[in-house]
């Protein structure tokens, strides 16, 4: 039921050179002390595609993100970001990846600008380019005036937006967000979802958005339903709904995972 996964090498062998997928995962399995956490995951995300990774808590979403970000990589299968294998070319792969982690990761006592400059330094960006990008990306998330404010003075939704700006500073091809709306009120949550959808549409960044909240899915998104380490459905909202023979994506999620959305 997983989407078809093309082997990029076979495509190259034929002499074509289409743009590589932003993310290409094939045959990915990971187990923790004998218990499979992820089992035979295959997934390709095209440039500019917005993919919602839907799964109940414990489905393996965070593990999948940890493997893609190479926090650890003792696993079976392959992961490539923009055509660069995470294991054999980690530097090229990670340079094309932006991440917003589930837990807040900003230094509360430092300013917005200091936090972002630290991230730019981790990517080895020269100071001037870093400052330009910081201004540009902050503006992009509607936080332009807050450069010199301490992160502690920002609301939860604003902190998340700063984290999104941070993940975009090095102009990644793929943006991962692991349940980014956790702890936000309804309005900030809706704003954030709309905002990132717009970013993906306008900038052509591929987005993998993990959540267990069904209302964060927009009609044009691709949906991947992950449950107990396996992909249960993968396709457009309409296709997944039709395949499950139900009326809505919420009902499809419930039918596939046995859980109320």
């Amino acid at each position: 039921m997983a989407g078809p996964v093309d082997d990029p090498r076979s495509v190259c062998a034929e002499g074509h050179r289409p743009a590589p997928a932003a993310l290409e995962i094939a045959g990915l399995s990971f187990s923790y002390s004998g218990r499979p956490v992820l089992d035979g995951i295959g997934l390709a995300i095209a440039r500019g595609e917005f993919v919602v990774l839907l799964g109940p808590n414990g489905a393996g979403k965070t593990t999948l993100f940890s493997l893609v970000t190479r926090l650890y990589d003792r696993r079976v299968g392959s992961i490539a970001i923009d055509g660069h294998d995470v294991r054999s070319e980690p530097r090229a792969a990670l340079a094309r990846l932006g991440v917003v982690f589930q837990q807040p990761t900003l230094d509360l006592d430092l300013t917005v600008g200091q936090n972002l400059a630290y991230h730019a330094a981790l990517h080895g960006m020269p100071g001037r380019l870093a400052n330009e990008r910081i201004a540009e990306k902050l503006d992009r998330v509607g936080m332009a005036g807050r450069l010199r404010d301490r992160v502690r003075t920002l609301s939860g939704g604003q902190r998340r937006r700063v984290e999104i700006a941070r993940a975009l500073i090095h102009a990644p091809r793929l943006l991962l967000l692991d349940e980014p709306t956790v702890g936000l009120d309804i309005r900030s949550r809706r704003d954030l979802v709309t905002h990132v959808h717009r970013l993906a549409a306008e900038d052509g960044v591929a987005v993998l958005w993990a959540t267990h909240l069904i209302d964060e899915v927009h009609d044009g998104d691709t949906v991947v339903v992950l449950d107990r380490g396996r992909i249960k459905a993968h396709g457009s909202v309409a296709a997944v709904t039709a395949e499950a023979r139900v009326a809505s994506i919420a009902a499809a999620f419930e039918a596939l995972t046995g859980m109320a959305a």
């Binding site: 593990t63 940890s66 926090l71 650890y72 792969a93 900003l106 230094d107 730019a120 990517h123």
Partner: protein
């Protein structure tokens, strides 16, 4: 160039955090000063220190424990920055560091050097206050100890890094403080010369001789008097290298120590 920028970024962040966390700075200063002013004053009468290298005259007990207290400042700082690493990882900012495209070993060394520089700032602040309090130390020594401080910072920082790579939660860390910091400090030449310990218990003296922290303290003690202790320095360098190699191994993605920690959180 990329490496240099990244390196400076990590160091700069650590210094900024240090400046912001004034409480931590004050605590780092009060701890050795309490030992110096209260403990050493009480022991001055009880404990005569005979002439032994690098000292050329009889010295006051306050003077004797200065290198030990310098080591203490660095030991606490090293453990504290690894404590912050355990905390960082729970909060996720260790992940921010580790998703940088630069090699992980380089990132960890940058973090280690940053922590060491912070500890050196603390040591000089401590020495300044100690001088104002009236402790007389050779002027050249202030500069001569700098390389020794750097090495000591790397050694205790590597130890902290190694511990942080396999400690799962903050709660466990309190135990490590008890089982690592206190034995390292007390079973060393920081508070009493080894020969003095031997009078009390040959076993404790033997343990202190094997304790790398003893050698860090002796290295600093000799450097303070513009002397170079080959043996102590060699042991500190070797210990640092082994601990750092193990720590980098601990954070190696393929070893899966991180997996063991994070997979259970889900």
């Amino acid at each position: 160039m990329i490496y240099l920028r990244c390196f400076w970024g990590v160091v700069w962040r650590e210094l900024l955090r240090f400046v912001q966390q004034r409480g931590r700075f004050v605590a780092a200063l009060v701890r050795p000063l309490v030992w110096l002013i209260v403990f050493a004053a009480g022991f001055r009468m009880a404990l005569g220190v005979a002439i032994s290298p690098p000292y050329q005259t009889y010295i006051l007990y306050e003077v004797y424990i200065i290198p030990g207290l310098i080591g203490m400042v660095q030991l606490f700082n090293g453990m504290q920055s690894s404590l912050s690493m355990v905390y960082d990882r729970e909060m996720g900012s260790m992940r921010v560091l580790l998703v940088s495209p630069l090699p992980r070993g380089f990132l960890l060394v940058a973090k280690l050097v940053a922590g060491t520089l912070v500890s050196i700032v603390q040591v000089y602040a401590f020495l300044l206050i100690a001088s104002l309090y009236g402790i007389r130390l050779p002027t050249n020594g202030f500069l001569m100890i700098l390389p020794a401080l750097f090495l000591t910072g790397l050694m205790v920082g590597s130890l902290g890094l190694l511990l942080s790579s396999f400690i799962k939660q903050l709660e466990n860390f309190a135990g490590v403080m008890n089982f690592v910091i206190f034995p390292m400090f007390f079973l060393s030449s920081a508070l009493y010369p080894i020969w003095r310990l031997r009078e009390a218990s040959p076993l404790i003296a033997r343990v202190a001789e094997l304790n790398p922290f003893t050698h860090a303290v002796e290295m600093i003690r000799f450097a303070l008097y513009s002397q170079f202790n080959w043996e102590a320095t060699g042991i500190v360098v070797a210990t640092s290298a082994v601990l750092l190699a193990l720590a980098i191994l601990g954070y190696n993605p393929a070893r899966g120590m991180m997996a063991r920690k994070t997979a259970t959180q889900e």
